[in-house]
Symmetry: C2
Subunit: 289 residues, 2 copies
């Protein structure tokens, strides 16, 4: 049974919170390459980059996004494969040119052999729906040399059904290329994204690595709140600060294969009672005398 096989015990995970330069793909790609190289040199075996990290985020139109987008191979993905070498896996977000004029907010899992999987963001946030097409496939859960990687993008993490699906499919770590804008709402949320990352890790007993971006772009300021959480929901690293940085933590991915809560009789999957979760309207409850 594959569940008892243990992935790598001490995987150094890096979230490289970079600052993409909108409109300057070359400089952005150089930044990303340097960040991945630095992380690999520091022993990282899983390097996570932000959402739309080679283009920037704040496209003004679908046309602008499409023009900046690339196919799901080559381009910046080749850079990452090259830097990954023989030991590392790189995950990052990019604008993807699809067929028939479509354009997606996508992310790829890449190793030294090339692109292993591509995911197109399924839950679009705010004005993204005006810019991007929506992905129609579940998030991938991919067996790699370092363990099973579940991949989603930013707002996807705010959908507990989606994260649960990835955990039930066997992910050891959910990696989340992210761009968290520092809107009034984000400020008032007191980094609710950090709470959601921790809660997701805890209730599914998986690792969660959120790689946020940094800097300002067309009037948007980004909060830069990358985090790496363990299956208890504890933060192994982060929240990152207001600067470009590679957040790193050593993750014993084997811990994510044991769904029991330490010190209890509980198992977060065995405890589930799907028969009680059917959708329903308002009820009057169970009235008693």
């Amino acid at each position: 049974m594959s569940e008892i096989n243990c992935p790598a015990r001490a995987v150094r995970v890096a979230c490289c919170q970079v600052r993409p330069i909108m409109g300057d793909a070359n400089r952005s790609c150089d930044l990303l390459r340097a960040a991945v190289r630095e992380a690999v040199a520091a022993g990282a075996r899983l390097i996570v980059l932000p959402e739309l990290c080679n283009t920037g985020y704040a496209f003004e139109s679908r046309r602008e996004a499409r023009a900046a987008a690339q196919l799901a191979h080559g381009g910046v993905l080749d850079d990452w494969a090259e830097e990954a070498g023989t030991h590392a896996v790189v995950v990052g977000g990019f604008a993807e040119q699809g067929d028939d004029g479509t354009v997606y907010n996508s992310a790829a899992i890449v190793d030294g052999t090339g692109v292993l999987a591509v995911y197109r963001k399924a839950h679009l946030w705010n004005r993204e729906a005006l810019i991007f097409d929506r992905g129609d496939a579940p998030a991938p859960v991919l067996d790699t040399s370092i363990g099973r990687i579940g991949l989603m993008i930013c707002y996807d993490l705010f959908v507990p059904e989606f994260t649960r699906g990835v955990a039930l499919a066997g992910a050891d770590i959910i990696v989340v290329p992210t761009n968290s804008p520092n809107t009034d709402a984000a400020r008032s949320h007191d980094n609710i994204g950090v709470s959601i990352a921790r809660a997701t890790a805890h209730v599914n007993r998986v690792f969660v690595a959120v790689c946020d971006r940094w800097g300002t772009e067309r009037g948007i300021q980004w909060v830069g709140r990358s985090v790496i959480a363990d299956p208890d929901g504890d933060l192994l690293a982060g929240p990152a600060g207001d600067r470009p940085m590679c957040l790193m933590a050593d993750c014993d991915l084997c811990r994510a294969r044991d769904k029991r809560w330490s010190g209890t009789e509980n198992d977060v999957f065995a405890d589930l009672r799907p028969e009680l979760y059917a959708q329903r309207g308002p009820t009057q409850g169970d009235r008693r005398p």
Copy 2:
């Protein structure tokens, strides 16, 4: 359409974090009565009490729990109804004697007219499975004079499918009588319960009121981390401290009827894509060239 009706605009919610006295039901009931009376006098219209608040938690056996339990009417529930008067609703946990020797970790919603709903904990935590029978009904979502109350108990809140069900059924506020033990795990979680309460509130745009207990009991120390979160996931009150106290916050329950994220195009329910959440095994993802 009932969704556009607004419940009460400013409902003062109180989480009365008391210290039950194990083995002394009379003193516990007096404490609870005094707490509810004080909260009502302070203008609270929804008073939440902890899990198993009239008996204490740390039963050594099923037999001891059954002996301390009461039926789903009368007893301490009458006390709460009396103190609720004509304006308030009281929610609290109690040990319930069921038929055929069963005993449940239950909670009731009570107003001045008596018991409105009883819920039996469906997700038992740790050794509770040795002490209590497991409830087999979904959590109630009850229309009351102050708004729609969803009711669950402690560990139930850690099951996102369960909380989502209550939110989709129309709850304005999820109330959660709780006992959070300060185990090694709880300490290492850095109050993960607070993150989970905030995340639950945010992703469902509902209020969440967790009423924890305080004190030590048979060697268990309780963390006393009552919180009241709003639909942004912000804490309106708490986390409470290490003492008995009534945490209070004024909640504009109308906010929970609007599932849009403020300042965005998003609606947390309309954004859901159930077709992508079907359960599945590990996948190789969407391989690209």
